[in-house]
Assembly symmetry: C2
Homo-oligomer: 244 residues x 2
């Protein structure tokens, strides 16, 4: 039985919910995790609100191997992710000594003042370990199975690369796509039968609607290559029959 490693993502920020900023992190993390054999099972987006963040973190961390958060770890008053995750874990939110040390050096080297605002970015839940930020120094942090990252896509992506080697990947999901010129209404019936005959695969169908015409992409996913291949053969046969 292949191992199943699951994850959830929590996106934090009023600016995403107002539509002012379009999220670019969900799709990135989804694809990234799929590629290393971790199944992203659910995503939530919440406002910059301490209770909303904490209750989402607690719901998700109990249910999944890993939780990844993005957003709300900057230096301003509306960046409340560190406090909120501390609240979720019931620990104080404190300046992390290691982060304080290298951030102080970082700003000194640039002749920039290490303001109280910048010091906010060194705060983590007590007991957290740091996640390296090669782009702009201010770190993310890991508390138990919760990984907290920046919202700025370039920084989040760099943090994801810092985290990835520490993650336990599952058996990678194999995915094969078959395109066809039929609408879902034509392939839907036979596809349901194929799904029943191949219970260890997941068969999805994704309609496209372009220039007034429907076409469908059929995607077979599974952890066992032979079983995926067997289902794809049945899909191919089904399409041949429809074409005939």
């Amino acid at each position: 039985m292949p191992e199943n490693v699951t994850a959830a993502m929590l996106v934090i920020g009023d600016e995403i919910l107002s539509g002012r900023t379009k999220d670019q992190n969900i799709g990135y993390v989804a694809e990234y995790l799929t590629n290393i054999g971790i199944d992203l099972m659910e995503v939530r987006i919440v406002a910059d609100d301490m209770e909303d963040i904490a209750s989402a973190v607690n719901a998700l961390r109990a249910r999944h191997t890993y939780v990844f958060t993005s957003g709300g770890i900057g230096p301003t008053h509306d960046d409340i992710t560190a406090e909120s995750i501390s609240h979720a874990f019931g620990v104080p939110c404190t300046h992390h000594p290691e982060a304080m040390a290298f951030m102080e050096k970082h700003y000194a080297a640039r002749g920039m003042e290490f303001t109280e605002s910048r010091k906010r970015m060194a705060r983590t839940p007590q007991g957290a370990t740091l996640i390296d930020n090669p782009v702009s120094k201010a770190p993310g942090f890991k508390m138990d199975n919760v990984h907290t990252m920046a919202g700025v896509p370039k920084i989040m992506q760099a943090m994801m690369d810092s985290i990835a080697p520490t993650l336990r990947g599952g058996t990678r999901m194999i995915s094969r796509a078959v395109d066809c010129g039929f609408g879902e209404g034509d392939v839907g019936g036979p596809l349901g039968v194929i799904q029943e005959n191949h219970p260890e695969t997941m068969i999805g169908s994704y309609p496209r609607f372009e220039n007034g015409n429907y076409s469908t992409q059929i995607v077979v996913r599974g952890r066992d290559a032979e079983k995926v291949d067997a289902a794809v053969r049945d899909v191919d046969q089904m399409l041949e029959k429809l074409t005939a």
Copy 2:
């Protein structure tokens, strides 16, 4: 006291969680609702799983004025949104007579067979009302405060236009943005003070990181134009002081 109308969105689909399809609906709905004075408070993305969908729908519909879902109402076996929402409401999922009637006509007029798969798209929770789909006929549906729409962006957008006139809008949120060349670490401290002095506005700051330089956009939001203006004046003054 201005009225506060809140909403949640539920995106349904394995293909979003695997990263194979990048969601385009969240940002669209977020902006759309903001423009008609409805506050989007939370978003969830769940897999094509009946229990996951039903429990998310029940959590969200209890908490918000409106819930909007996208995805999973096509004709194939993996489209289980109608059953799942029926399950959430504890009612049977049945072929809606009105939908059956106009879809039958629609396919007959095109010389297409009204297959069992296509009939799946006429199913709704018992007691639901239909949401018009001017693009491809197969309707969405409204059950209590839950609006169920297609996942294909063009169709979802058309359904949103069908729904909008039926929604009770709140007082529209006013938003004013001030760009500055300072990093968040410089503006963070004074901005926290301004937020405290203007409790009926929400002041956010959004860092940009381009070509190795930080800049910050400061956004003041609120429902009362005068109060937003007053906060913006304080932001402008603060930036003048920093520049001096």
